[in-house]
């Protein structure tokens, strides 16, 4: 394998932290978190389908009081990533690119995803 000489893309350590790039990196982090969380999704379906120890272990794991914290984190990651995704799709069609629009829509997404997470866990 030849070693690539091009520099690694987003140099996180050299940017000044501001709303826009913080939200951008949270989009990636929440995506990675959602990937690891979604590994549980097929396991949950299998636990419903197959009787036995596997079901007992899975349901005990999901139902454990301490599991609530990572699950709350995952629901926040879902709401954040899905809402922030709308911003990305709007940028792709050239909308919302003014500096104040980018900032305000970012703050709106954070506020909305936090309140949706609270509503979800209050209702469930």
């Amino acid at each position: 394998m030849t070693k690539e000489t091009r520099p690694l893309s987003p140099h996180l350590s050299v940017y000044r932290w501001q709303v826009t790039n913080t939200l951008s990196i949270i989009h990636r982090l929440s995506g990675v978190a959602l990937y690891f969380g979604s590994l549980l999704f097929p396991l949950w379906i299998a636990a419903i389908a197959f009787d036995g120890y596997f079901r007992q272990i899975m349901l005990a794991l999901i139902g454990h009081p301490l599991s609530m914290f990572p699950l709350i984190g995952l629901t926040f990651a879902f709401f954040y990533h899905s809402l922030n995704g709308i911003r990305h799709l709007l940028w792709d069609i050239g909308k919302g690119f003014e500096q104040n629009q980018v900032r305000n829509s970012g703050i709106a997404v954070v506020a909305l995803s936090l309140s949706m997470t609270i509503l979800f866990w209050w209702k469930i």
């Binding site: 394998m1 979604s38 379906i45 419903i48 389908a49 349901l59 799709l89 979800f120």
Partner: protein, 123 residues
């Protein structure tokens, strides 16, 4: 681009995508997953939150639920792989390590898709 290739990509049975193919697939899978994800949230809030195992089995036994659940899993891992591919290419310097990571992600994806389909067919 043929529709058969698109279906194979959704099932993880096609090569890794690049450039404009990757770009378009990432966006179309995002839109599909947005709809499916909020369908799942709705079901969790209003049907599955207090359901017993047998009630969840009855819920899955409905053809529409079964189909949408399978599509949610397929699109979840399709969209995840496309995203992880970008992150890997951005942060992992060595090309061979990038490929190793992508293959591990693909093997996990194929295993979990298989598990999902087998499980749904048993219910």
């Amino acid at each position: 681009m043929g529709v058969i290739l698109k279906i194979r990509r959704l099932f993880g049975l096609a090569g890794f995508e690049h450039d404009s193919d990757h770009w378009k697939s990432q966006r179309s899978s995002a839109i599909a997953l947005f709809i499916l994800g909020y369908w799942m949230i709705y079901q969790l809030l209003f049907f599955l939150n207090e359901a017993s195992v047998s009630e969840i089995q009855q819920w899955i036994a409905q053809p529409l639920n079964s189909m949408l659940l399978a599509l949610t899993v397929l699109y979840t891992f399709y969209h995840s792989e496309l995203g992880l591919q970008v992150i890997t290419e951005d942060y992992v310097e060595s090309k061979s390590k990038q490929i190793t990571i992508l293959y591990i992600v693909r093997v996990i994806r194929l295993s979990l898709i298989t598990l999902t389909i087998i499980s749904l067919m048993r219910i």
